[in-house]
Symmetry: D3
Subunit: 308 residues, 6 copies
């Protein structure tokens, strides 16, 4: 079970140049074979399906808490896409001037037909994410090897998406994910080390280019975010700490296990796009709801809670 | 962002007759077009992509907290599948006696080749879940109508899965989901009512057969679980309560909004299946980890926390 | 545009042994790569897309009227599947005795979960028909060659389905389709002959086994149904007759062009399956509708019209 | 069974600016999840598979005759695409000057490689239509609810396609479909009303923007085309009239049931594209066929018949 | 079993204008339904699966040796794509200047994200090749008819790809494939002739435009490459010669069977693309390997062998 | 380019109990995500696409020659499937006794409808192989890591297929592939070692169960087949020897590089299945061909050549 918070991991700047084709490229990081939906669903299913977890609890806990973090990653990528798409067609209610005419030449028409200029679980070519992307043999050594490979592949994709798109919204998000995904690379390498004694962490970075080449990633590394494994739990999964020990293979700083989630910031509000009837409901009277709420004793200001 | 707990919603009895074909059928409720992955990903993406959420906060909160609950549903279905598959092949390390020979005639060979006799994100025919199952037009009225239809379709599938499989593991899980999914049907109907004034809740139940025909569902209804909308959040999404008002359309009892998650029980441990090398790692020494843990001050008993 | 009639091509006997797995096999003839949906959609799209139809009218007319006939073929296959599935689970309203328990071991679970024991646009493995099965290069010679090959492939599949299933419902339907599809083989061969002078009809039959080996087909051949090309139109597509000339390559009888459709019989009524809530609506009062109808002057007996 | 006519529903103007990318966008209305192939195949299969049709004849008839109309809709969308593609590459027989060089940058290369600059059963991203788009639970209430949702989703897609493309060919076609599809929305809502008593028609329009905002749709509404349910049959399906009663929920005008099809116009001829060898067959002598036809007594002028 | 040679069939000129969209178009010839992977896998599987090969040896040998040649065709198409992609983004190690920014607007983003600016087994729309493209009924007449159709369809695609792309790299490759694929068209037509007596070779060319219209193809015809069927074997498959008899249907020159492979040229080396870390491994010291090689007696110059 | 030989790697015993469901299971090793088609196409494409091959020749040569061997693996799996399917339906020409009635309950109906009781490029659930299974980032370290993981995953699948099927045909084939695939695991591990210095070979075996547990594998190991890397080339790819150095990580025996292919045995002849018209062509006169051959000087005994 999960508890969801109305907060996202980091604050994203508004795009300098909203762009449908930039958004289309970033979709690879959401719904691609190596996108965040793949990491989320791999680790989630692996944790549900883990056999012998009492005997191998630290490995189970590691997979579970990394899986929990991935939820915040699909969230970050989705928000980056949404921001890149907001305002890219002409706002207004009248269909006659063809407010969506831009979309005809855009790479991904689903953003304008199937969604309201927002993210969908698909990749950079508009192919939808599929459960075939989940690998879960049940053999822990093989599953950990897979996860290590998956994170390296995901890292390569992030690097290339960064090289395609220069907008700060996308790059801030990618910088963050390079750091956190880089931490996951090391975590699975460390798990293999604990299991086999082979120094798998020495294989990193894969590909060879370091995260240090990405200024936005460097900012997050300065906050130590490449060192802290969060439990993303109110109190469970603490034996992951038994794997997350020692120092980082690239800069030698000490690794740290943190109970709970990253603090985060409130989830951003997305502007309405009336030409898409998104969200529509224009005659709706929120005041009526407010009045009801007051009578029910609900705080209408909807306070967002912080870290546990 | 989420916080994950090492707990599941309800306690599942062990199967009377573990059965690969029963497990194969139950997969429809996990990875089918109307399975729990579809409800999870629909509401999750709709919440990330919601435009104008400040103006329409109660609807956003409703979708977000139902989406958060769905995580516990993919978990319950997965555990039911896993329990139905556990022990269905002959245990042992020696491949020569063909310990998996049962699997050759089973409907779903992926359970034995691609996974370690555990769930995968696929349906009852072994077709994998796809992101095409996510509908998110961005028009709130249309999205709510979709969600209402999706929950009705999901309900029909649960009813049929119940009629296919008589094992108590599966039926307890389905009974729970019929009640909770039934609540989601009413919730989206109520949201449409609040938005349009049309009495959509009077359409339920769809199909016409009531949950009262399912004894396991009746047990959960007696606990009032068809009346309580949980926030599945440490404190957010409370304006959903402004929609979840009045009485239940079928039995007239008052609806109730509950902050937090259902209490749940600890996640069950799944037996090892050595013939699948699941999990393998047989030479691994957990004591070594325990010793490290003690030195690190981690409680090796891995206490599971309750409801917030 | 079409006009639809509430009639089907031939009368199908009730199954001797209704069987989910027989029904599953017959799905290949509906939604398989070489199924009737493929022939229907190939010729329909080819006719919409035909360039230069004034210059090449007889070829256009031929493709159009064969395409129109294919609608009656998807109908016949669907009804055969529906009859084979009717009554294969235990009738009743109570879910507790697991009335669908048969379905757990059936090859195709979609018949019981996604449909109400009826046909879906999928093949014998439950894979859904796809528009990729449509070939339409726009080059008439290549498209005709494709159509000739497609009909030969479809014929091979029908022969094999016949050899798999011995129930008279299925075999009557297949016998009919072998004859009509066999006619389409000859029609496209004849079109290639008219276009190129190469005696393509001499290649038939492909595979080598004659329709004469199938007693049910022989019955339809005795009615001359392998000789008559119907326009399946109230009056259009008559220049197809310019291609459908001469004699049949296998028995030497004269070919004949017929304006209109085969006479057919009323569409059969399918029994209700209450355990699937199919159709449900049990409290509905048809008398009320009858009374309204009488006042509106509609004949409530719903007379089915014959051939034009 | 059907009778096909060599006529289409309405006359389409020639495009002002033929455009491959406009054509690519319009494909969504043909082969998209909410395209006309989906409505056609949903209602066609639902009618073949309808259980208990004698008891529920008006509902069966309604689904059957709407299904029959959808054939004319896939036809209209296909012709619009074909017209938008005609002439978009350089005409001629010589491949050396790269007459298809435009196509290299077009969004949908299948239009130029797999077809002869014509429509294929795919969506705006070139993904092919699939039978997974057919929903048919067999429970009539659930199927009607699906159909109502499907038509609303289809309406949203048409509105967005209209906003993407300003060419009159596309917009005339979309205006027509908005009116006829809008009628189908009301028809399924009315069916749910007759079945349940819930005033579902009051939910329309979904999305909230009225058809009145689309000038081309307004032209067709002036002809009363939003009020007339055609049987698209020579005489069957008349009990659909028992559902199609009362007045239109948006303008209060009386609804009308019409026996037969809309009158329509002759199907347009599409220009040849020699650079695609479409149709090729350049040495073919139609005069030879004409002579044969005269001897056979076939009217070579191929008269198109009107409404029944 | 195969023996692979580090040689390719012909020498390809460097592109005049490397172009991602040209490369994207050419992918149809690799991974499209009618691409070289389809011909390769069709004939390969048909040869593995051939029943009764002793009785029908010449046909088996024909299919086997054409299948062997197709390997060199997937190779040629892949190299053409690779050359068209080489150098299309900005070379360098620093990600900050967005060296892949070109790729954001390219038709096929997989070339830049999933591969290192190289070919993948997909078509011109980025849809991946699938085993569904293999047809193998086991009935030899039907399989030969399929192969004849497949080669004609493949020829049409090559002609259209030629018309889309004018770069000499692509056109040289296509000219070669038109000649060799054209030979395969004739070979399967001849096989059908030997089997049935029907003069199928008289149907060629399909489409009607001759290879003589393509100057690059004419160059290869001048070398007689449309006349020579190679065994692509060190000594097997010689009975294919019994089918490959007589003269070419288009120019009347005598057909010739050749033992072994076309001579070919060394496989080209592809430039590194450091911005993609392709191949990376920059600190690797090849000299170390050279030294080892010398001690092992391996010729470090890696001599490529010629024709057998 | 390749030269194909009419020989297969090893001699397969005839099945003791031919079985469609055993054959269906073995399909996973041909067309599954981790099947031999995946290894073949991964290494083939990676070798075509290798950038900087002059600098990194030994790695290129390694991938190329392993890729060449994989062709013999798809061949072995296909023949095993074909033998398991031969004779599983009733032989004869008459369709009336339903000779394929067995097939109706078989897990994979494509074996009887789409093929002539032979292999198709699909997996154990009848899902077709797809080019999405090819990974080729262009970064050599990442690609080698992928290949290492792919081979480990393939090994797990072989182990499980072995445990499902006890027929000697299947197990002999699997034993061979476990040994050769096991060699490929070590080869990619060794390549990573040469590149990075990390002792990746110490991770093997993955899963933990040794090949020694499989008696058929042990037989092939006794022949040293786990030690010999063949070039599968008449003379190229010899620098692979620079990677394939040292001793085997499991038994410490010296590794050996061998120029050319394994010797192999003649490809087996598959019995005809007349009830499938496979191959049909029953009136065909091979003597006629023999006579022609003699006049052409072709040896009609079709001698199979041995190793180069």
């Amino acid at each position: 079970m999960i508890l969801r918070m109305d907060r996202v991991a980091i604050d994203l700047p508004k795009p300098k140049n909203p762009s449908p084709n930039d958004a289309a490229a970033i979709q690879e990081l959401l719904g691609g074979k190596f996108g965040e939906l793949s990491t989320l669903m791999n680790y989630t299913m692996q944790s549900f399906n883990f056999r012998g977890r009492n005997r191998l609890r630290p490995f189970y806990d590691l997979i579970a808490c990394i899986g929990a973090e991935e939820y915040s990653h699909i969230e970050m990528v989705s928000y980056a896409i949404n921001l890149l798409l907001t305002g890219t067609t002409k706002r207004g209610h009248d269909p006659v001037p063809a407010p969506l005419s831009n979309a005809t030449d855009a790479r991904n028409s689903y953003h304008f037909i199937a969604s309201g200029q927002t993210a969908l679980p698909m990749d950079s070519m508009g192919n939808f994410w599929t459960g075939q992307n989940v690998f879960n043999s049940g053999n822990m050594k093989l599953d950990l090897l897979h996860n290590f490979f998956l994170e390296c592949g995901a890292r390569a994709n992030k690097m290339r998406a960064y090289e395609m798109v220069s907008d700060p919204t996308a790059r801030t998000m990618i910088g963050y994910l390079l750091v956190r995904g880089g931490l996951h690379v090391v975590a699975y390498a460390r798990a293999l080390e604990k299991l086999t004694g082979v120094e798998v962490t020495k294989l990193v970075p894969v590909p060879e280019l370091s995260n240090d080449a990405f200024p936005e990633a460097v900012q997050f590394q300065k906050q130590g975010l490449h060192l802290k494994l969060f439990s993303f739990s109110p109190g469970d999964y603490q034996q992951a700490a038994q794997i997350w020990t020692g120092t980082h293979p690239e800069d030698g700083q000490p690794l740290e296990f943190v109970n709970g989630a990253i603090e985060g910031v409130p989830a951003p509000d997305l502007d309405e796009e009336p030409q898409l009837n998104a969200p529509g409901a224009e005659g709706f009277d929120p005041q009526m709801f407010m009045d009801v709420a007051k009578r029910m004793g609900i705080n209408p200001n909807h306070p967002s809670k912080g870290q546990f």
